[in-house]
Subunit: 365 residues, 2 copies
Amino acid sequence: MSTRTLFLLPGDGIGPEAMAEVVKIIDHMNTDAGAGFVTDTGLVGGSAYDAHGAAISDADMAKAMAADAVLFGAVGGPKWDDVPYEARPEAGLLRLRKDMQLFANLRPAICYPALSAASSLKPELVEGLDILIVRELTGGVYFGEPKEIIDLGNGQKRGIDTQVYDTYEIERIAGVAFELARTRSNRVCSMEKRNVMKSGVLWNQVVTASHKEKYSDVQLDHMLADAGGMQLVRQPKQFDVIVTDNLFGDMLSDVASMLTGSLGMLPSASLGAPDETTGKRKAMYEPVHGSAPDIAGRGIANPIAMIASFAMCLRYSFNMIAEADRLEKAIANVLDQGIRTGDIMAPGARQVGTNEMGDAILAEF
Amino acid sequence: MSTRTLFLLPGDGIGPEAMAEVVKIIDHMNTDAGAGFVTDTGLVGGSAYDAHGAAISDADMAKAMAADAVLFGAVGGPKWDDVPYEARPEAGLLRLRKDMQLFANLRPAICYPALSAASSLKPELVEGLDILIVRELTGGVYFGEPKEIIDLGNGQKRGIDTQVYDTYEIERIAGVAFELARTRSNRVCSMEKRNVMKSGVLWNQVVTASHKEKYSDVQLDHMLADAGGMQLVRQPKQFDVIVTDNLFGDMLSDVASMLTGSLGMLPSASLGAPDETTGKRKAMYEPVHGSAPDIAGRGIANPIAMIASFAMCLRYSFNMIAEADRLEKAIANVLDQGIRTGDIMAPGARQVGTNEMGDAILAEF
Ligand SMILES: CC(C)[C@H](C(=O)O)[C@@H](O)C(=O)O
Ligand SMILES: CC(C)[C@H](C(=O)O)[C@@H](O)C(=O)O
């Protein structure tokens, strides 16, 4: 039996509560199925800042780099609104993404059948929705230099950010999107603003060339990112896999997650490139939702996104496909039984807390 | 009676058909009410490229600069997909915005009562929706330098765009948003990504400072742009005025327009600063929709967005408030009567072409 190392970064707000429910599942898998997970826990975000003045310490960064996979909760909250920019909670998340070179962010937007009525869209538009957004995560305007505020004198300042993409960055994310499309409905829609941005022109060219060279069996469409946002709201089921850059991916995946009625339930995976010798890829799994400081500590947060993120971890980091499927099925079953946390409460359903939701899923698993 | 000069740039695709319906209204106002509009017509986009190899000629640019207001149709189409980047149809639009210094783009997202069922959102979420997006239009990543593709050798290229905002640019767009909020529900929500972008940090600081100094009677909120996209889909009626940068404004206004069920019906105004001596501001009015090459030339396009753009022109460029109100009311009345173009057709309504729609609105005006 192999050892599987997991580094847990629960973070701030509801992060620790949600993570506790995943720990139950890990413990269960170790005890019942000898899964051999070895966990260690660190600090990230505001809680890391409080402990040692940075949004993640070098020691915890090293542990994240060494682990088979990182599970990440959520960061941020009003308490840290005024910490120095370099130490703000998000800086911990951004450093993890960058230093681990997690260039591929997979954000499924699925509509759990039991929740289709909870969408703000008409149910017929979202029932059965299953989109995968593949977002580039280590490039673009998030990390490009110069990134600064310059004092121009005369009371004027200048804020600068730089959007940069190199061919290889676009090629590798496109490759991930095409490969994943092959395991799904075999369609990729690439989104950029080539009518305004030179990085968009290059993006479009490289995706088109990759397609032609290696993935011509996959259907490829291109859409301007603004039109893409529109179409996500208008007719979301037209999409299978969407591939886009870091900033557009941020915007579009938030819009997509909202369509499902399952906001607060959606997981994500952030993956690096396979190691040339071992084939292993660095990986981090995190809910799409934030730290929800307003409800933190009250035991009412929905742990499903965190648990579903662990299911992605089983699938992508450990190739435990059967277990991942079972865990996802357990979530769907619990929802079908009408068990709900407050955020997804519906007439006639039974409202439970974080703990009970975790237990119910574990019981079905 | 004063002379009012209008420069018409119908552009490509359905632009000319839609513009023809506005011309009817202009003629009517001249004949019946001695409005004194003097019009001239130029070329923009693909049609300008076909005529003289640029997306707008210097001569037409000069006319646009000299006119009291410009009415713009739409640009682009597959015919011009492969023209050189600098001459692509959008370049004409971008040059107009930049050279005329039209920094304030006003994009109302309203839901015509007769059309609330056409939204992909549940009717109760959009009924009565009335949002105004104030988008910065001459700065940010649209125009920042460097903007280029560099050949790095080894088959690698680098695409670069630059997001730049100076204090004065943020201040003046915030001022427009606050002033407009005072004429509405007195609330402004400013959106940026200050957690990732330095320009977002500056944006947030400058909007906050303007508010404190000059507009503290207006309610100001801040939202991260990704969360803003989510909230637009979740609970759009929470917003009154949204102020945001060029790229976020592009994305968010497309999402917002889709909410209304009135896509293809929404107008926009792009305004410059008031001239220091005359008080006049340069202005351009254009539909939010594109050139719809697939239906161009068939007489079936919906001219309402173009007509509603002219209503904004009456309001903002000529202070003809009563006329603007009447024209907007005429549009609503025609919709209430169940007269529809194909794009907004509904069971029991009467389907008409571009021409008849224009005539019906004129008859109500
Ligand atoms: C917290 C923030 C830095 C982050 C981002 O912008 O990428 C978040 O919005 C996300 O989508 O994961
Ligand atoms: C046509 C294009 C250049 C333009 C933009 O990106 O600004 C359009 O999408 C818009 O919103 O007016």
